[in-house]
């Protein structure tokens, strides 16, 4: 009851277009953060209990938990967070943030683009499936009256994972959704656009119609009226600002089912640093953004699940320029609704380089990335066998049984 009331209260604060936008009120939202570039999760969830870790990373390893200013933050007797993940530590200990170790794809190319592509399509290597994994998921939700705000990518580009979705929108901020025309001309222009795009026989039909609908639905959502709750502060960087837009959409109950946003720059071949430096500043952005988002959405966390994924982890050992080259397995982060947190799940594969048939690889993969994604979707009652055809599903236990 109370929750219902607060939703209404939020709605009334928004200045909306002619149509009311309350479809799917109270539905769940999945927020997918893609750490592009191959994040070195070995320095984010550092296996300080394994002496090999310090041997193969003499200059960049995160010091074991202790009194030193830059030491890792203890998660358990084996793993420690990177010090810049401090904002996420309380969420971890409260049981709302969980991690799976050793996740990855079977992609042997070592290519960012090929691995990202495969991962966003949600398939096994060399076994293409139609569309992206979120696109297929959203297709199973067509009975739910999807709107252009059901699937939102923050930014300018629609990610491959949304491919095939019945609806998608790419926006940097809600305030951009208008045509800058005199009010009396907007309707006529929208009608014209609607007619021309509806008649398109190619790929522009859907995005054109979606965009017109979007214009009609959200004519004005004023940025200044948005106030984060629980004292949450979003930093000025694009990542945090993007999360703020997502929070705003969630609170507006516009039927947001899936939101995607990227945090780029994880390709740390050179001078990646340890507790401080290049990678540390990215980790800082990630942690601050996620923790502000979590705080702000405190009242909504039972219906928001946030995940952070990357295309591959990095090489186990550091290279001659104090960075790391492309590797394999990585640690997967999930926060919020349904997550069995406070724990690093998955099998620690040890730090032997998992060689490809030819040439160096990275940390061995003990969990197919699709099993993790499928477990999350299964919790949302999605037909996972349809979304991940051919998957031999082995849920890592990241989701609390419900």
């Amino acid at each position: 009851m109370g929750e219902e009331r607060s939703r209404r209260a939020f709605l009334s604060k928004l200045v909306l277009g002619t149509q009311q936008v309350v479809e799917n009120a109270g539905g769940h939202t999945l927020v997918c953060i893609f750490l592009r570039g191959g994040a070195d999760t070995l320095n984010m969830v550092a296996p300080y209990g394994d002496p090999t870790y310090y041997k193969v990373r003499p200059t960049i390893a995160i010091p074991a938990p202790g009194k030193k200013p830059n030491s890792g933050l203890k998660l358990d007797d084996f793993y420690a967070f990177h010090p810049k993940l401090a904002p996420l530590l309380p969420i971890f200990h409260s049981g709302e943030l969980g991690i799976v170790q050793g996740v990855g794809t079977d992609n042997p190319t070592g290519s960012h683009f090929d691995a990202q592509d495969q991962m966003e399509h949600g398939c096994a290597y060399g076994m293409p499936v139609n569309g992206g994994w979120l696109g297929r998921y959203l297709r199973t939700r067509v009975g739910e009256q999807l709107t252009p705000l059901s699937a939102v990518a923050i930014g300018e580009v629609i990610p491959e994972s949304f491919r095939g979705s019945p609806v998608t929108t790419a926006i940097r901020a809600i305030d951009q959704i208008h045509l800058d025309l005199p009010a009396e001309d907007t309707d006529a222009v929208c009608a014209a656009l609607s007619k021309m795009y509806a008649a398109d026989v190619g790929i522009l039909k859907e995005p054109g119609s979606s965009t017109v609908q979007l214009l009609k639905r959200v004519e004005k959502l004023k940025s200044k009226s948005y106030k984060a709750e629980q004292g949450a502060v979003y930093a000025d960087d694009r990542f945090s600002q993007g999360l703020k837009e997502i929070a705003r959409l969630i609170k507006a109950d516009v039927g947001l089912e899936v939101a995607c946003l990227d945090l780029d720059g994880w390709d740390t071949h050179f001078f990646q640093g340890g507790a401080e430096g290049l990678q540390a500043s990215l980790i800082d952005q990630l942690a601050k953004g996620m923790s502000a988002f979590y705080k702000d959405l405190h009242a909504y966390n039972r219906r928001v699940t946030t995940i952070a994924i990357t295309e591959f982890g990095r090489r186990i050992y550091e290279n001659g320029s104090l960075g790391t080259d492309h590797g394999r397995g990585f640690a997967f982060f999930a926060m919020g609704a349904g997550v069995s947190g406070g724990k690093v799940h998955g099998l620690y594969p040890g730090l032997q380089d998992d060689q490809y048939d030819l040439g160096p690889g990275g940390m061995k993969i003990t969990c197919d990335y699709r099993s993790v994604l499928a477990e999350i979707l299964a919790w949302r009652k999605a037909p996972t066998a349809e979304i991940f055809p051919g998957l031999d599903m082995k849920p890592p236990g990241l989701i609390v049984a419900s």
Partner: protein, 517 residues
């Protein structure tokens, strides 16, 4: 001779005048004396299929400039292609007046360090955009964009912003229509690339040093063979070993590349089953380039990408094969491959099937209107909003060519089209009434003629109906185009806006068909 002295005078005047006055002067000179004026009559099309010359100018150029179709028609398609393949012989001074005035684009790598980053970024982006809009060497510009993506460098990494201006000039523009191997070699030793993909830090100075694979991987995967080109992870490692020792000088000679044998792994290497003997030193680079650029996967990969760029996202195998054969036969001569490609039936038959990327959409909109711009921030901002601000793609694969990722850009395309025709993009001037008069003749707006001018074909029923319905709701506010009291030379901005007509033209630029090419 007359023109040259005029340009000299312009330079003198502009040395003293405020910037805005200068730009007005350049605009006036290029419009009135150097052929950028909108002609009085424009060629139109009545066929249901896109006109072959319109098609050519949409693919091998950024869309027709007002009147350009007539020029190509007189000259013939084949001759136009031949001419475009020898860009140095095309008089491009009208474009030079606008685009060459940015000082940092002419500098040596080291000299740019004296400039602020914002200046460097603005200069190179404006230069690129202005060349795309105004250059008569259009095919060169299209290929510059192709290679800029192919061997992408993001200005925001490390010192790249200081080094990219010379990379643009000495790698991309110099070799855009040259030999593929020369292009890749120049890129391998380009200071900007050595920074962007960490080549300058790829070293072996002690027994435990492991090479930095960043550049080696992209050289194989993105620049030469393609991800399925048949190399292994071991090959990546071996190429990285071959390239150890290339470095950049510091403080006093910034931007100077040299080879340091003490940082080179001088052992024997194996690449794609070929042995590179020990002791090759800096010659290792040429050995690997010989192996890579002559590999059949390279010919196929580059040809596939070119056919995707110019013909179809799903490239016809027959054409890829003939381009690859030409690539191998000519040892990677880019001009020869383009000649085969542009003269092929597959090219001619592929009309209107590709989606313009935002840059192409913006440039073709400006060109079709014969717009006057000096590429100020407000215009660049639109590209940013659509996701394609030049030189700002973060990863080495460059802006995608396929349509999928761009399907979210319609909102900003519409916003841009409507703002442009309404004269609402700051510092961009369009002469809507003058253009409409050249298209429609004396009389009122003729929707059929307008659509056929912009789309290169007769309108569809839906297109016509849509515009008619729009006009019913938003009738023109000024009766007709033939008002006698209008002075042709008077600044169009001074007249009252004919908002609904401007929106109508904007709508044509918003059509699904204008997003395609």
């Amino acid at each position: 001779m007359k023109r040259r002295s005029l340009l000299k005078a312009a330079a003198v005047i502009c040395g003293a005048a405020p910037l805005a006055a200068c730009e007005d002067f350049y605009s006036g000179v290029t419009r009135d004396m150097m052929g950028q004026k909108i002609p009085d009559n424009l060629e139109l099309f009545s066929d249901i299929n896109i006109d072959p010359i319109h098609h050519l100018l949409s693919r091998a150029a950024y869309g027709p400039w007002p009147g350009e179709l007539d020029e190509v028609k007189t000259m013939g398609i084949k001759k136009w292609i031949d001419q475009q393949l020898e860009p140095e012989k095309i008089d491009d001074r009208a474009c030079d007046v606008r685009a060459r005035r940015f000082e940092t684009i002419h500098m040596e790598p080291g000299s740019c360090f004296e400039f602020k980053k914002e200046v460097l970024r603005r200069d190179i982006v404006r230069h690129t955009l202005l060349r795309a809009i105004y250059s008569k060497r259009q095919l060169l510009e299209v290929m510059v964009s192709f290679w800029t993506d192919h061997i992408n460098i993001n200005l925001d990494k490390g010192d790249c912003i200081y080094l990219k201006p010379s990379d643009d000039r000495l790698v991309i523009r110099k070799h855009a229509l040259g030999k593929f191997r020369d292009l890749i070699r120049a890129s391998a030793l380009s200071p900007a690339m050595l920074v962007y993909l960490d080549g300058k830090d790829n070293r072996k100075s002690g027994p435990h040093d492991v090479p930095n694979e960043n550049y080696a991987r992209e050289l194989l995967e993105l620049h030469t063979l393609g991800v399925h080109g048949g190399y292994s992870q071991k090959d990546v490692f071996e190429v990285a070993r071959c390239l150890t020792g290339w470095r950049l000088k510091g403080e006093w000679e910034r931007g100077v590349v040299y080879f340091d044998p003490a940082f080179h792994d001088n052992g024997e290497k194996k690449l794609l089953a070929k042995t590179i003997p020990a002791g090759g030193g800096e010659k290792d680079l040429d050995r690997i380039l010989d192996i890579l650029t002559r590999h059949p996967s390279c010919a196929k990969y580059i040809s596939t990408k070119l056919v995707q760029k110019f013909v179809a996202d799903d490239p016809p195998t027959s054409l890829v094969e003939s381009c690859a054969a030409e690539f191998s036969r000519t040892d990677g001569d880019i001009k020869s491959v383009l000649r085969v490609l542009l003269n092929s039936t597959e090219f001619q038959e592929s009309k209107g099937g590709k989606l313009k990327r935002p840059f192409h959409f913006v440039v073709s909109s400006l060109r079709s209107l014969g717009a006057d711009t000096h590429a100020h921030d407000e215009l660049i901002e639109y590209l940013q909003r659509m996701g394609q601000a030049p030189f700002q793609y973060p990863t080495p694969d460059g802006f995608p060519e396929e349509p999928g990722p761009w399907l979210g850009s319609l909102l900003w395309r519409w916003k841009f089209a409507l703002a442009l025709t309404r004269g609402q993009v700051p510092h961009v001037k369009v002469q809507i009434r003058r253009l409409a008069k050249s298209i429609c003749g004396e009389g009122d707006f003729d929707n059929t003629k307008l659509i056929s001018y912009f789309l290169g074909r007769r309108p569809t029923d839906v297109e016509l109906q849509t515009l008619q319905e729009f006009q019913k709701k938003c009738p023109p506010s000024i009766p007709s185009l033939s008002r006698k009291d209008e002075d042709e030379n008077e600044d169009e901005e001074e007249r009252p806006h004919d908002a609904h007509r401007e929106e109508l033209l904007g709508l044509i630029l918003c059509t699904p068909a204008f997003q395609r090419f």
